[in-house]
Assembly symmetry: C2
Amino acid sequence: MDQQQISAYLLKNGVRPLQKRVKIMSYLVSKRNHPTVDMIYSDLIHEINGLSKTTIYNVLNLFVQSGVALALNIEGNEIRYDADTSTHGHFKCKVCTGVIDFRIKKEDLPNPMLEGFRIDEQHFYLKGVCSFCANKIEA
Amino acid sequence: MDQQQISAYLLKNGVRPLQKRVKIMSYLVSKRNHPTVDMIYSDLIHEINGLSKTTIYNVLNLFVQSGVALALNIEGNEIRYDADTSTHGHFKCKVCTGVIDFRIKKEDLPNPMLEGFRIDEQHFYLKGVCSFCANKIEA
DNA sequence: TAATGTTTTTATAATGATTACAAAAATATG
DNA sequence: CATATTTTTGTAATCATTATAAAAACATTA
Ligand SMILES: [Mn+2]
Ligand SMILES: [Mn+2]
Ligand SMILES: [Zn+2]
Ligand SMILES: [Zn+2]
C-alpha cells in the first residue's frame, strides 16, 4: 500500500488523510509489528520532524474509533495497535515481548449463547514462549 | 467455599494462607464479579481494618504467579481479577462496564498451527452491550 | 492571493494505575 | 520469651495516558 492507497482508505472510512495520519497508518501497515505508542514514536521521530507523542495518541484513538485500527489489550500495562482489522488471533511471547498474528476463520471461533447481547468485538490471544525463544532457552 | 477450604486451596498451591490473603480470595470466589483492585479495596476496607491498597496489589500479584487467579486484560486501563482459572470466556459490556463469564470447552477454542511454541495461557473475550443494557436503550 | 474560521498539532501539566521502598507489624522458629 | 523471617503499610516514585490551551496547519471565501 502506497501513500495514495492509504489516503483513499482513510477517506473512505471518514478519516481526513492528513500527512501525519497517513505516515502513521503507513507505519502500521508496513511494519505489522503491533507497536505501542512509544515504539511508533521512537521509530517515526527521525522521519517526521517535530512529531509529538500526543499526536500519536490522538491519531491512534481516532483510528480505533473510525474502525481502521484495533487496540489490543494483551498485557495490562500496554496497548498495542493493529491496522489489520480482519478476524485473526495474536500470540505474545513472554521472552522477546513480540506479538505475532495467526489466522483463524471467523467460523472457528466459539459461538457462546448470549441471548440478546450485541457483540461488537471478538478477541482471541495466547501467551507463552515463541519457537525462536524456546530454541534459545533449550540450547 | 468457606475459609477452611480456601486456606487448604491456597496451601496446596504454595500460598501461605494468611488472614488477608484468605479474605481477598474469599471475596473473589464468592463475588465472581471480576473486580479491579479499586473495587476490592472499596468493598473490603469496611470489613478489614487498616487494609492497604498496596497489600491488594501484592496479594493479587502473588495469586496470579501462583496460578490461583487470572489477570484479565480486556480494557487497556484496568486489570480485572478472576479466581476461576478454568477455561472460560468473558464478555465486557461497554454500557454497564460489567464483565460476565460464558462457558466454552477447551476443545472448542481454535487450535492455531504454532510449531515449536509453548502456550501458557489462552484468552477469549468479547465486547459489546449486554442484554440488560440493550433492553434499556431500546425502551 | 489575502482574510478568516476551523481543525490539528504541540508542549506542558494533570491524572490514575501500578510499583519501589523502608519502616512497622505479624508470624514463625528455637 | 527472644530472635529471625515474612508480610503489611504508608509514602513516594514511575509510567502510560488524557486534558488543556496556545501555535500551526489547513480549508473556505472574498
Ligand atoms: Mn494482528
Ligand atoms: Mn471469569
Ligand atoms: Zn520470543
Ligand atoms: Zn450492560
